[in-house]
Symmetry: C3
Subunit: 156 residues, 3 copies
């Protein structure tokens, strides 16, 4: 069986990942919007045990904690994508991530934090997970979350 | 008449919104660029009475003022889209907003500020206005503006 | 010979620009990802003499230095695009730039810094270089780089 035919749900199970319920749609916007075969996912903020994972890198959180938060967001993004598509095997490419890290003016490891998400995407989607990305430090994030990530995916 | 056939200019008039002249194109870039049926609008900074609406959330401006600024930007974005398309009824979907809120390191209500833009888009475009979005706090914005928003729209 | 038929490599030579080797692909992500005829380039951080060009606008660097850094990034982005496409003449449009400027809470000339990239793109690609853009100030950038820019290009 070639890599391109791996069932994404089998991969998730092998990785021991259980998808959470997708975030409830907010009033004035939606968690995902599709145009042609491109799906844009809204920025997802970090959560732990269903609550906002608050904190600032370089102050209240270290790089490893930030990386764990980024990994958790990637799982939430995949859950939203599953909710949008009905079947994650319709994903032909994770095209891009944009990762916003709640940072002090001195913290410079946003790329290491963001690897938590990039590595999870690579583990789940394999060749289809090879994405471009931007990662940088922001002054704050809604509700004080430590990381926020948005995703663009190509689907069939 | 179904929602999909509402004339956007009638909607704007019902809402009492008069579109301003679109921002003048800058030297080295343009306010909108189209690829296929996707229109990318440049980041628009907040203006009031034609001048830069300066300030920082969490310091010189409160959430309600920021929300009003975000609403004003959404109107400017729609004006640029009108200028680009000639006819706003060609918009099939507002796909995504990215909202940058000039924030102190402590201000955490970027989502409420951004609702000013999201709600205006929903009022004007209805079902066609259901967009994904990201909102976060940035260290500064050109000319000290309090909010900057960019938009992606799908058109026919 | 019409503008649309100018050979991009001739243009680069006229401008005295030699493309560097494209950045090495990182482990968990790639420097460019294509979906249909859209190429998304990862955020590229500023480099000088092959090393990270570190600094913060409003503190250790002034606007002119930031503008030079943005110009250098634009050249690196074009190098990555060349590496991705094999032939830069396949570019039909530089669609969008997003420019993140490592800024103090007071620095407000992110647009002037970013002009360093926008003007270079215009010089190299002419009409095909007319792009939308967003520019704003961020709290920090990976490895302390002074500017980071991502690009979206339409190709044939």
């Amino acid at each position: 069986m070639t890599e391109a035919h791996v069932n994404i749900y089998d991969r998730l199970e092998q990785l021991g990942i259980e998808l959470p319920n997708a975030s409830a749609p907010a009033a004035a916007y939606v968690m995902s919007a599709q145009s042609g075969n491109t799906v844009y996912l809204s920025g997802h903020i970090a959560k732990r045990d269903g609550k906002v994972w608050a904190g600032k890198l370089g102050a209240s959180l270290d790089t490893e904690e930030g990386k764990a938060a980024a990994r958790a967001i990637a799982i939430d993004l995949i859950a939203t994508l599953h909710n949008h598509l009905g079947d994650l095997n319709r994903v032909t490419r994770i095209v891009k991530l944009m990762s916003l890290v709640n940072s002090t003016s001195e913290f410079t490891e946003q790329h290491l934090v963001t690897n938590g998400a990039s590595e999870l995407v690579a583990e789940v989607f394999g060749e289809r997970g090879k994405h471009a990305r931007s990662a940088f430090g922001v002054a704050q994030i809604p509700l004080g979350a430590c990381v926020e990530i948005e995703m663009i995916a190509e689907v069939k």
